[in-house]
């Protein structure tokens, strides 16, 4: 159905996103007999975080090490999350991840094998060798899921950016979206809606992620009245390239490079001194802090990082390249595409934003507090807590993607379509069109985006304190009220990336303030929230910081207890 303003498209289940969680949810919903449509900001399988994900997938199935099991994986995940993750979600994650890995095998995905069974590696934070190694990394995983969705004839609306939820009271009934290929407006309507649009690492300047991860879905949910939790929790991946400049930010997988069981390259400061003892590298938040301390003490490398010194590995050149091939630790064909020989040259790396720990709050049915809105994957905020171990992100997409798909179908069966707020849809479209028509002004969206990213790097970066965060809020408010009104967009007939950046920026400036407000509230250091003014974890802060949009647009802050599963958790040191 098309009126002059938009085309309206309806389905039982509407899925927003295109990565691991979104497509798994769509598959689950379709397999349950619903009709499903997927709306993705970019090309499915070539956008978001899943295609760039490292090959690790947590599956405690004890193929490699018979001592392992899901209960131990549960304990490890709770402990490594610094006791902030909701344990009902962690239980689901650790119990169902192996089965979901088998599903993907059925879709044609391949894992590294060893002696006829799944090859598994031990990464920091895991008690035993537990992570599957996906052949072809996250790219292959997203591709396998996309192939399966095509087998099931699920329509994919690609290059289609959703901008606002439509509501019927506190029920989500659909979204307004703009198709970038032709600048056409859409209203997508679902009896149930699944949000799987990923996180917001692009709010910061130095990041290893896809440029489209500006957190649009989180902001949309927030504006619709969803509860967000622990928004200050952004996982820094310790080793992102500081050189060469054309690929600044690109992730290199230290788990394979530094670990003495694999390549065993030492981690050195700018003076050539080893900064971590030989052995299994520390977990991500600990490693990040060690590196940042070196850099801030003036012992960094010329481009502001530390060295991964592969030339100093005890392995031979042949062994190194064989391991690199098996573990997929380096990009661009082990840097050879960029004419860098890693066996001759040190890599300079520094921590970058990588994975969003906080986000939309869900229960173990993947339900949010908004009726009819489900959320799965990185967009959700209460599974991993304050730190995440390698392999749990991809596992999360599959476990909660399926749960969201199954439960969304049940909801769709029990409810018809909600009332469509056509006035709100028209208002949103008028606003979007007005943005494209703003052909004169002072600031390009890209300039404003860079300013927001710089504010977050400076004021909500590796180390945080109250004065810095307050200054960050002030800077963001200035951007919002003094720069944004003077933003202009160079109009083109279709695929106007500058228009997309304008829409992103308008959302980013609000989301960034929610992140800082949440960070100011948590007066402790826990995992990736590192406060120099509150350097210890505090028992009274072992709880969620919840943020919700108030009636005047203000950030309403409250706390919520962590949901416990009633299981006595054994820490790794207790186990040994």
């Amino acid at each position: 159905m098309t009126n002059g303003l938009y085309e309206q498209i309806e389905a039982d289940v509407l899925v927003l996103g295109g990565g691991g969680a979104a497509i798994r949810a769509a598959i689950a919903a379709k397999e349950n007999g619903a009709n499903v449509i997927v709306v993705c900001k970019g090309v499915v399988g070539r956008s978001g975080a899943t295609p760039m994900a490292c090959p690790s997938y947590q599956a405690a199935i004890a193929h490699q090490d018979p001592r392992d099991n899901a209960a131990i994986a549960f304990d490890d995940t709770v402990e490594e999350g610094r006791y902030l993750g909701d344990e009902d979600l962690i239980l689901a994650l650790t119990q169902e991840s192996s089965e979901r890995a088998r599903d993907m095998e059925r879709y044609g995905l391949k894992y590294e094998m060893a002696g006829g069974h799944w090859f598994q590696v031990q990464h920091p934070g895991h008690s035993y060798a537990r992570n599957l190694v996906i052949r072809g990394c996250g790219y292959a995983m997203n591709a396998a899921l996309k192939r399966q969705s095509k087998k099931l004839s699920i329509p994919l609306y690609e290059d289609c950016m959703a901008t606002r939820f439509l509501l019927d009271g506190n029920r989500v009934t659909g979204v307004v979206a703009v198709g970038m290929r032709d600048h056409k407006f859409y209203v997508f309507r679902g009896k149930a809606v699944i949000l799987a649009t990923g996180g917001y690492p692009e709010l910061w300047e130095f990041t290893d992620t896809s440029r489209d991860l500006t957190g649009d879905g989180v902001t949309m949910a927030y504006r619709a009245g969803a509860d967000l939790v622990d928004m200050e929790m952004m996982l820094y991946y310790p080793t992102c390239l500081k050189w060469p400049p054309e690929v600044e930010g690109t992730l290199v997988q230290h788990e394979g490079l530094i670990n003495p069981n694999y390549i065993g390259a030492p981690l050195l400061n700018g003076l050539g001194e080893q900064i971590i003892p030989p052995g299994l590298p520390p977990v991500r938040d600990e490693l990040m802090k060690i590196m940042i301390k070196e850099i801030l003490a003036g012992r960094g490398t010329p481009n502001g990082g530390v060295y991964i010194a592969i030339p100093r590995s005890p392995k031979s050149k042949e062994e190194i390249f064989a391991l690199l091939k098996k573990l997929d630790s380096l990009p661009y064909h082990n840097m050879t595409d960029l004419e860098v020989d890693v066996t001759q040259q040190y890599l300079e790396v520094a921590p970058g934003t990588h994975f969003t720990l906080g986000g939309v709050r869900i229960n173990d049915r993947a339900e949010t507090n908004l009726v009819g809105l489900f959320a799965a994957g990185e967009v959700s905020g209460n599974c991993h807590g304050a730190n995440r171990t390698s392999g749990n992100a991809l596992a999360e997409t599959q476990v909660f993607g399926k749960r969201a798909g199954d439960n969304a179908v049940q909801f769709a069966r029990e409810h018809g379509f909600g009332r469509l707020d056509t006035a709100a849809a028209a208002a949103e479209i008028q606003w979007l069109q007005g943005l494209l028509d703003r052909s004169s002004g002072q600031y390009r969206p890209n300039e404003i985006k860079k300013q927001i990213q710089h504010v977050m790097h400076e004021h909500m970066g590796y180390q945080r304190d109250a004065a810095g965060m307050q200054a960050g809020l002030a800077a963001l408010r200035q951007i919002q009220y003094e720069l944004l009104p003077h933003m202009y967009v160079n109009p083109t007939s279709h695929f106007d990336y500058e228009w997309m950046e304008a829409i992103e920026v308008e959302m980013m400036v609000e989301l960034a303030q929610v992140v800082i407000r949440s960070g100011l509230t948590r007066e402790e250091t826990r995992g990736h929230h590192w406060r120099t003014d509150f350097p210890q974890s505090r028992a009274e802060w072992c709880q969620h910081v919840r943020t919700r949009r108030g009636p005047e647009g203000e950030v309403e802050i409250s706390t919520a207890p962590v949901r416990r599963a009633g299981i006595q958790v054994k820490t790794k040191s207790e186990r040994l």
Partner: protein, 106 residues
């Protein structure tokens, strides 16, 4: 007398509002190491906001979102280094052109 690296000359096969191809040439200063994709980002940010191309996604050289043709040969723009003084011709990766270097991909 400066011995700065020579600028790069890029000829891009673009498309107008009717979808008809035309070429536009850019001269890009060689200020820092570049790959084809980071060079396009430079042009968009500093010279021509209307230039359409798919921005960097996977940052690893695998997703092929940045697919296009360099001198009529298909490449991943992020995986090809640009050298000082180089002359390049960039064109869309296939015939399903959305605009400029953006195509509909499988």
């Amino acid at each position: 007398m400066s011995d700065a690296p020579a600028p790069v000359r890029v000829e891009v096969v673009r498309s107008n509002d009717q979808g008809e191809p035309y070429t536009q040439t850019y001269e890009v200063p060689y200020e820092t190491r570049m790959n084809v994709l980071s060079m396009l980002h430079y042009i968009y940010e500093n010279q021509d906001p209307s230039l359409a191309f798919r921005v960097c996604q996977c940052s690893r050289g695998i997703c092929d979102s940045c697919q296009m043709k360099l001198d009529d040969k298909k490449i991943k723009a992020c995986s090809v280094l640009v050298k000082p003084g180089q002359q390049l011709k960039l064109s869309p990766s296939n015939s399903r052109v959305v605009r400029d270097l953006v195509t509909v991909q499988d």
